[in-house]
């Protein structure tokens, strides 16, 4: 039995039901997935600015709930608050962006990320650089549809994503595609069926990595990168 808390790092509960159902159905039989959103923050995350607004709320949810769970997942490709969350947690914390890039790296030499807006291109290139995966990242592409409009015309969005995957294969020599937004998870099946290469859906990748960490009793290292912060008064 594993208890996993999924945090939607936005101030909106509109995705909770669908995301929770999807993740519960992707989870192992004896995993319980609870999902919450944050109270204050942006309604979607498409920039460093939005990401910064998500972090305090994410950390608040984690501080208040971490003792009741075996693992935590921050459900956004930008992984807002992942590093500080690990600093304050002994239990594993997973992020879809990081997890998906690692899974993609095991499936081929070069992967491309297909995301929403131009704003996220440098964000994800920088994320790959920090992870040491720049050489594996063929490109970051965007369909120019904001997160909140992804499901307005789902079939058109699927077509746009598949078109970008094909472009990544032909122009950038990508061998694996990564969906660069967890808001695309409802479109994943259709994209997967139409793409000619493996497509990694980041929320599922993150959930699986988290289940694996819990099963093996392994968490992030507290020796260096994720040292517990020195206690001090913090107000906001």
């Amino acid at each position: 039995m594993r208890r996993i808390l999924v945090i939607n790092p936005i101030a909106d509960d509109r995705w909770n039901q669908a995301d929770g159902d999807y993740l519960q159905s992707t989870a192992r039989k004896d995993t319980i997935v609870d999902i919450v959103n944050i109270e204050k923050g942006a309604s979607s995350i498409e920039s460093f600015y939005d990401e910064a607004h998500a972090v305090p709320g994410v950390l608040k949810v984690i501080r208040e709930n971490k003792d009741r769970y075996d693992g935590i997942m921050i459900n956004c490709f930008a992984d807002p608050g992942l590093n500080p969350a690990r600093e304050i947690c002994e239990i594993p914390v997973a992020g879809p962006g990081e997890s998906a890039m690692i899974v993609a790296s095991m499936l081929g030499h070069r992967f491309s990320i297909i995301s929403v807006l131009k704003n996220v291109v440098p964000m994800f290139e920088m994320k790959a650089a920090v992870m040491g995966l720049s050489k594996r990242l063929a490109s970051v592409k965007y369909i120019d549809v904001p997160v909140l409009a992804l499901e307005n015309n789902p079939d058109t969005t699927v077509e746009s994503i598949v078109e970008k995957i094909n472009e990544a294969v032909e122009k950038d020599s990508a061998e694996v595609a990564v969906l660069g937004c967890t808001g695309m998870l409802s479109l994943y099946r259709k994209v997967k069926d139409k793409a000619g290469i493996p497509v990694v859906e980041p929320a599922a990748a993150s959930l699986k990595i988290l289940e694996t960490l819990i099963d093996l009793g392994i968490s992030h290292s507290k020796k260096g990168l994720y040292l517990t912060p020195v206690f001090k008064k913090i107000t906001w």
Partner: protein, 235 residues
């Protein structure tokens, strides 16, 4: 139901029982595991020479797996012998234990250290680190100074591992440790407890990654590992 074939790519079955025991303990409830060895080739893989001896026989076992109806394969040696060749020929997930464990280790800290068997085996590990692109995240490769076949001496292994792991942390600054041989078994939890950091046993990590890939229906890209041409090949 997930059927996984574990190929221990050496011509001896001395490790099978220990591996199976650990795998049975850590697998999903709906996973079925079969372990096989190769019936020719080396009895241990210490360096490039042994890898080459192992690869063709390992490849044959891997190729059979798809016909036998397996959902995934684990090639159980840190040298990842025949892993890329098997990925070219097969469509089911093929997981090498080094590939899985160093990708996984990179999620857990800033820099990991690999604890291997002999100094002479380091070069093969260094080559693979470059191939996978993790040479900068690996702060050191340290050797126990024990040949693979002598790892059955549990007390010698434990003593050397405790000392070597401590040096990797204290002298090299590693914050995650990865055992660089599938036969360094039964020490993960103890060393993790003593040194207070994550210790990765590559075999079970590969098992979980293999299960994860099967669960989400992912396998390697045929763009990266294209199907070999249908030409004559003879042994």
């Amino acid at each position: 139901m997930k059927r996984i074939k574990v190929i221990v790519p050496v011509n001896t079955s001395i490790w099978n029982e220990s591996i199976l025991e650990i795998f049975e303990k850590n697998k999903d409830s709906d996973t079925l595991i079969d372990i096989v060895n190769i019936t020719k080739g080396p009895e241990a893989i210490e360096q490039h020479y042994d890898e080459v001896w192992s690869e063709l026989f390992t490849l044959r076992e891997a190729e059979k797996a798809e016909v036998e109806g397996y959902d995934g394969i684990i090639i159980y040696c840190f040298g990842d012998p025949a892993v890329r060749a098997a990925k070219e020929k097969l469509r089911i997930p093929v997981v090498g234990i080094m590939e899985a464990s160093i990708h996984f280790a990179s999620l857990l800290g800033k820099r990991f250290s690999i604890i291997t068997t002999r100094n002479e085996g380091k070069f093969a590990t260094e080559d693979l680190l470059k191939l996978y692109g993790f040479e900068k995240k690996c702060v050191s490769i340290r050797a126990l100074g024990i040949e693979v076949l002598n790892l059955v001496d549990r007390s010698r292994l434990r003593k050397a591992a405790l000392e070597t792991c401590r040096l990797a942390v204290e002298d090299d600054g590693a914050d995650v440790l990865v055992f660089g041989c599938g036969s360094i078994l039964g020490l993960r939890e103890e060393i993790s407890e003593i040194l207070k950091l994550p210790v990765i046993e590559p075999g079970i990590t590969a098992l979980k990654i293999c299960e994860d890939l099967i669960d989400v229906g992912l396998t390697h890209s045929k763009r990266a590992y294209p199907m070999p041409l249908n030409i004559k090949r003879q042994i």
